[in-house]
């Protein structure tokens, strides 16, 4: 604690201390981390129970619909201001709608491409994010409870989401969107079992 060295490559490198348990770390070739599909721990570390999965493609429609609703509201507000307030006609409203729709849809498509989840031996692993790319590890020992939820758009498209709760303050609710209802329930049962197996007398 009192030493304040500047060792860049020794000592606290997690890999050097952990080399027996995680031999794969060294094999990861540099330069791959910009591609979410190849980075991450799924490349043959033997710890995962399933392959990395992506949400169902229909979730793009869900996100798209949501974007369309937001864009429509935005367009109506802009249109109203422009027609009644500034007397510029309806064009700014239409423009705002189209712009918001395009930006939102592109974002939704990109987001879908980054989304990935994986059931590992002892943890749930998730990856997502367009601007900020986030990878989360949720150990099963820490799972408090697991919900499935379906909002109206989900029901329309035949989708379901899984929400995993932990006592942590940040990852308190980890959501996996775009599952089919049966998949969601299977996954819920499976995670429940895994969470139960990995005992831990107190979850906090």
């Amino acid at each position: 604690m009192t030493t304040d060295g500047d060792r860049q490559n020794a000592g606290s490198d997690p890999d050097s201390m952990d080399s027996e348990t995680r031999p794969d770390g060294a094999e990861r070739h540099p330069g791959t981390e910009d591609d979410p599909a190849v980075s991450g721990p799924e490349e043959g570390d033997g710890k995962s129970l399933t392959e990395a999965r992506t949400p169902d493609g229909r979730v793009r429609w869900k996100w798209g619909l949501r974007v369309a609703i937001v864009a429509a509201v935005l367009g109506v507000i802009t249109g109203a201001i422009s027609v009644f307030g500034l007397e510029w006609g309806v064009l700014p409203g239409v423009g705002a709608f189209v712009l918001a729709l395009v930006v939102g849809v592109v974002h939704a498509l990109l987001l879908y491409r980054t989304w990935e989840y994986q059931v590992r031996e002892d943890a749930l692993y998730l990856e997502r994010g367009v601007f900020t790319h986030v990878k989360t590890v949720v150990p099963f020992v820490r799972v408090q409870h697991i919900d499935t939820s379906r909002d109206p758009i989900d029901r329309l498209l035949g989708l379901s989401s899984l929400v995993v709760y932990t006592a942590g303050s940040r990852g308190a609710d980890v959501t996996i969107p775009g599952l089919t209802p049966t998949d969601a329930e299977d996954l819920q049962d499976r995670l429940k079992m895994l969470a139960k197996e990995s005992t831990g007398d107190d979850a906090v």
Binding site: S12, V134, V137, G171, V204
Partner: protein
């Protein structure tokens, strides 16, 4: 058992004062109907006020009569409520902290407020307003004892070790606390307020003034000094006669001059430790220690501020005490790579350029002129600031602990035991991706993360972040495995 009888007059006074405004309004309205006769008006006013107080008094007497608490074999039972009754049974196991607080008046009356805190939700589970001071101490003691008995396989620990004082603040430390906790965060706000309202206020006091270049800075500097002294004095009052004792499975603290607080920190619920040192404290060689427990940080009752287990002590001593709670080894922090420093430099450079451009833009306005180019003095600060930010960041992963360090103005070292890890996440913003950097957040159930005080290894190499994330998760599994074999 019942609340202390003295709580009745105190509560009557307290709640009458609280609804005093309403009583006064009703009284004024009532006396308004007297048709201008002052004596009659005053009589009506006093009458209404008396009725108001009498109602409060009746309520408080009923409250006292209908409030009962009891320590049963395994629950703390509370029956309360005048009209709608509420019976609660709180298992001792679930009670995390028993806090006692007393303000000056309460101390004169010898009564105290007892708060029972449980995990989950930042809310106080139950309050006893108010019991005898000795009774409050007894409750704290009893709950702690029964909690231990309640726990499986704990029967053999009946003979608890005597309480041991771990830390008591010295007058010298209290003085240093006053100096280092001078809080300047309000300064920008105050300066804005001063620049808006200040001139009018000053001319109203001294109408003949024209020396604004002298008066303005003088008032500004005076206000800043005043604020700094005030915040220093406030923390000295808060931490006056601070004591930390180890007491079986708990740490107990007591503090405060005007309002006396006493609380407990259960050892087995400790989530993270934070060692904080701001610039001034660092320069003087002092630091503070705070302990975050699950769902509830000790002493966090009213304010959102995380309060310290050790408000101030010499750095070595703080580290030593922290180690007695969580025995972490010597730590060598690994700093982020140097390209992180470039990132900060670019970020600060952009801020500086915006400020300079803003200053220049202001001079383009009619009737405004001034040495806008003086704002270019920000430029030489940029590399210094970037370097300092970079220099004070770091992380360390030990066998049983993940430790992070962040912040120049107020440096915070967060110690997370592997066993307390909840989730681990690594994140990369667009700007971080450009420089192959990433941040790893180790999340715990400690409540300080609600305020964004997580343990973050910020801007470390992306490859290393991947491995760190996995290593922290693995350490958690190992720690849990070890705990199981121990049981």
């Amino acid at each position: 058992m019942r609340l202390d009888p003295l709580s009745i007059p105190y509560r009557i006074a307290e709640n009458s004062a609280r609804i005093g405004g309403a009583i006064v309004i009703a009284g004024v309205a009532g006396s308004g109907g007297s048709g201008g006769n002052i004596l009659q008006g005053a009589a009506i006013f006093l009458g209404i006020a008396a009725i108001g107080v009498a109602l409060v008094a009746g309520w408080e007497i009923a409250y006292h009569r209908r409030f009962r608490y009891e320590l049963t074999a395994d629950t703390f039972d509370i029956e309360s409520g005048v009209f709608s009754r509420r019976d609660r049974e709180i298992p001792y196991r679930r009670i995390q902290n028993v806090d006692i607080r007393q303000n000056v008046v309460q101390r004169l009356l010898g009564i105290a407020e007892v708060r029972l805190e449980t995990a989950g939700g930042g809310q106080t589970e139950a309050q006893l307003k108010y019991v005898n001071r000795e009774e409050a101490g007894r409750l704290q003691e009893e709950v702690a004892r029964r909690k231990r008995v309640d726990e499986p396989g704990a029967g053999d620990r009946e003979d608890e070790p005597p309480a041991e004082t771990l830390y008591a603040i010295t007058p010298r430390e209290l003085g240093i606390l006053g100096v280092v906790s001078m809080d300047l965060r309000l300064v920008p706000l105050v300066l804005v307020a001063l620049s808006v309202f200040g001139p009018a206020a000053i001319t109203s006091v001294l109408p003949e003034i024209d020396q604004w270049f002298v008066i303005g800075p003088l008032v500004g500097v005076g206000t800043i000094i005043g604020l700094a002294i005030l915040s220093g004095v406030i923390s000295m009052l808060q931490y006056y006669d601070f004591q930390l004792r180890s007491h079986g499975d708990e740490y107990r603290y007591e503090r405060g001059l005007l309002q006396r607080y006493s609380g407990s920190i259960p050892v087995e619920k400790v989530q993270t430790l934070s060692i904080r040192e701001n610039v001034l404290a660092r320069w003087l060689g002092y630091a503070s220690l705070s302990i975050e427990t699950a769902g509830y940080a000790p002493g966090q009752g009213s304010g959102a501020r995380s309060q310290s287990a050790i408000p101030i002590a010499e750095r070595d001593r703080v580290v030593e005490l922290a180690r007695s709670i969580e025995p972490f080894d010597d730590v060598t922090f690994e700093r982020p790579p140097q390209r992180a420093r470039e990132r900060y430099a670019v970020r600060y450079l952009l801020v500086a350029l915006v400020v300079i451009a803003g200053a220049y833009a202001v001079t383009l306005l009619p009737d405004v002129s001034g040495p806008w180019y003086l704002s270019a003095l920000l430029l030489p600060i940029v590399p210094v600031a970037a370097h300092l930010k970079w220099r004070h960041r770091g992380y360390y992963l030990g066998e049983e602990y993940a430790i992070t360090r962040n912040g120049f103005w107020s440096r915070r070292i967060t110690v997370v035991p592997s066993y307390r890890v909840q989730t681990v996440l690594s994140s990369r913003t667009i700007f971080q991706r450009r420089r192959r950097l990433a941040s790893v957040v180790v999340d715990t159930a400690g409540s300080s993360s609600l305020m964004g005080d997580d343990a973050v290894a910020a801007d470390i190499d992306a490859e290393r972040a991947e491995r760190l994330r996995e290593a922290v998760a693995d350490r958690l599994q190992e720690a849990i495995g070890q705990r199981e074999t121990l049981d």
